[in-house]
């Protein structure tokens, strides 16, 4: 969905590196990006209501965490959180991944988001989302994301999304 423009532009992105959250090249750049994305995310009331927090940012990926909360339960018999909360997490994480790729601040809007639900989330456990913006053009950004507990290869859900860039009033 529509989101406000990013803060001042970051320098050009470093060459994409294989995922190495513990040893990113250009650590200062990445720390700065992480700080900016965290500030931006806290400005989104629904993300705050979900208590979503920025976990990590690498040269190519953004990681968010959704803590387990009884208010998010979709199946009271099992305590499993509702798919809608996973959708909100993946949407938020995918949008952050687009912002991380932008060279200058522009508003964006989700065009479409497809979610595959692979298995129920485990009751009582936080869900982590990892998103990457794998292609960006003048008008459109393309994202992939997974939601998981321990390892992205054992995912709860997978998503692909497209985002419109440079929207006015947040509409596609």
């Amino acid at each position: 969905m529509p989101d406000e423009p990013d803060e001042p532009a970051r320098p050009p992105a470093p060459a994409p590196a294989p995922r190495a959250p513990d040893a990113p090249d250009a650590p200062d750049l990445i720390e700065e990006r992480k700080r900016r994305l965290s500030v931006r995310m806290r400005a989104v009331p629904h993300n705050t209501a979900l208590a979503v927090r920025m976990l990590d940012v690498t040269a190519t990926e953004v990681f968010l965490e959704l803590p387990y909360d009884p208010k998010l339960v979709g199946d009271p018999d099992s305590g499993t959180i509702h798919g809608g909360a996973i959708t909100a997490l993946l949407d938020a994480c995918s949008g952050r991944a687009v912002f991380a790729e932008l060279d200058r601040p522009v508003p964006i809007a989700t065009l479409d988001l497809r979610i595959d639900y692979l298995r129920p989330a485990t009751p009582g456990r936080a869900v982590i989302a990892r998103a990457t913006c794998y292609k960006i053009t003048r008008n459109v950004a393309f994202t992939r994301a997974v939601a998981y507990h321990d390892h992205p290869d054992d995912a709860v859900a997978h998503s692909v999304g497209t985002f419109m860039l440079q929207t006015k009033k947040g509409t596609p």
């Binding site: 969905m1 208010k71 938020a92 989700t110 979610i115 595959d116």
Partner: protein
């Protein structure tokens, strides 16, 4: 009673809202459902914690996705001859317009009902039903007992 058993009871008493009250996430989002003629309309009542963009302001896309998915599940539970809880396999949302900070409504219709798989199309709108803010297609696993 399980959720499905409570659903059967709620359906028998024509009190669908009682079923929604059993789902914490639906309560937190502010979902209500009511029949209008032969349609089941699910409504997400506006509240400030649904906002995704404070400067527009606009409702968070994730909550619209949750409304669309919930409307589909309610429709399937409402129609179901046999009590089974549908499992969402895929949900594909098209975001058409910025959603204003007001109530949002959704209506689901089954496009194909198979023995194991049900395809559902959902539309969400605000003031003008002919100008949907989002539409979705969802596929559910519905194993019949």
């Amino acid at each position: 009673m399980t959720l499905v058993e409570r659903m059967v009871a709620a359906k028998a008493s024509h009190d669908f809202q009682r079923l929604i009250a059993e789902v914490p996430y639906a309560v937190w989002l502010g979902l209500t459902a009511a029949t209008q003629g032969d349609e089941l309309i699910t409504t997400m009542r506006y509240s400030d914690h649904l906002i995704g963009n404070a400067s527009l302001p606009a409702i968070h896309g994730g909550t619209l996705g949750a409304l669309l998915e919930s409307a589909a599940i309610f429709e399937l539970l409402w129609r179901a001859e046999t009590a089974v809880h549908p499992k969402t396999i895929t949900l594909t949302v098209d975001y058409l317009r910025s959603a204003a900070p007001i109530d949002t409504h959704a209506r689901a219709s089954v496009t194909r009902q198979g023995r194991r798989i049900t395809n559902v199309r959902i539309e969400a709108w605000q003031a003008d039903r002919d100008a949907p803010v989002a539409t979705a297609n969802a596929i559910f696993l519905v194993m019949r007992g």
